[in-house]
């Protein structure tokens, strides 16, 4: 825990400065998580503010201060999920497939063939973002929390209110779908290359 229970209790009772302190303690961590969940640094602050806005209006529903962090992660995952769903609706009319360059880059990264400078990092983000766009928002958020954020099954269980065994099954299936998309994109790019 980054803050003590007393601060959470005060924020819950509507103490503005206590809420400010709470946000200040968690915002960097939450913004980092959002960045990895949505893959678009330019939209991170907006989603982050949405998370803390929801926190402000739902603090009174918090059962106890001990479950504050899973609660905050749950709000974060939900806000990211809502953002991704809206973005998908906006993007549906556009081309959502991975470009050949993105596939080749993802492939090279997976094969550890390149050094990474800033522009390459940006391209990696775009390639993984495009890859994860091929699966559902639920799969994307769950997998990112597990594989990229490094949350344990126990922590995920607290966020999703699901038993570990059920989570394992969902994670396995989500991973299989991403793998399938990864392999398909790779084959597609290989096919395009061989046509030239």
């Amino acid at each position: 825990m980054l803050v003590d229970y007393e601060l959470i209790r005060r924020a819950r009772e509507g103490d503005g400065p206590a809420f400010n302190q709470l946000v200040a303690a968690y915002r960097k961590r939450i913004l980092g998580t959002i960045a990895r969940l949505i893959g678009r640094p330019e939209d991170v602050e907006d989603v982050g503010q949405e998370v803390f806005l929801r926190l402000y209006y739902s603090l009174d529903q918090l059962r106890s201060a001990e479950v504050f962090e899973p609660w905050l992660y749950r709000l974060t995952a939900n806000a990211a999920y809502d953002y991704l769903r809206k973005r998908r609706r906006r993007m549906e009319s556009r081309m959502a497939d991975l470009s050949e360059q993105q596939v080749l880059l993802a492939d090279a990264v997976a094969g550890e063939k390149i050094d990474r400078d800033e522009s390459q990092k940006k391209r990696i983000r775009e390639a993984v973002d495009a890859l994860l766009d091929r699966v559902s928002e639920e799969d994307r958020v769950l997998l990112t929390l597990k594989e990229v954020e490094g949350l344990s099954l126990k922590e995920l269980g607290e966020i999703y209110h699901v038993k570990e065994n059920a989570l394992k099954v969902r994670l396995f299936r989500a991973r299989q779908r991403v793998l399938k998309a990864f392999t398909a994109a790779h084959k597609q790019a290989a096919g395009v290359s061989s046509l030239r």
Partner: protein
């Protein structure tokens, strides 16, 4: 079979490396100076909205109460004038009016035919 497992295993490992690279490629986001002021603006905007809706709901409730009082009053006034108004239903009034009417109906007969010439 072993070959297929090997390919699947290598794909899994490649995906792991891709996620690892993605994590490294995602920058640490420093919140801007406007983060907190904007957050409070959003909180206040929503509070304002809920105040407006709250006020609207209260006004609607008051209007509904006033209307039901008026209706109650109207019903009680019409109740007090009950003696001037018929207390029976339309069907009962009809039944009363025709009570004394003869129940012996003239049988319907066809019109007589013209005399044969």
């Amino acid at each position: 079979m072993d070959h297929r497992n090997e390919i699947a295993g290598s794909d899994e490992a490649r995906l792991d490396r891709l996620f690892e690279a993605y994590r490294a490629a995602c920058p640490d986001i420093e919140p801007s100076a406007a983060f907190m002021p904007q957050l409070w603006q959003k909180i206040e905007a929503r509070q304002g909205m809920s105040l407006v809706f709250g006020r609207l709901a209260r006004n609607l409730a008051t209007a509904a109460l006033a209307l039901s009082l008026l209706l109650g009053l109207a019903v009680s006034i019409s109740g007090s004038r009950g003696s001037q108004l018929p207390s029976e239903s339309y069907a009962e009034i009809l039944a009363d009016e025709h009570y004394n009417a003869s129940l012996d109906f003239e049988p319907l007969r066809p019109a007589p035919l013209a005399e044969p010439r």
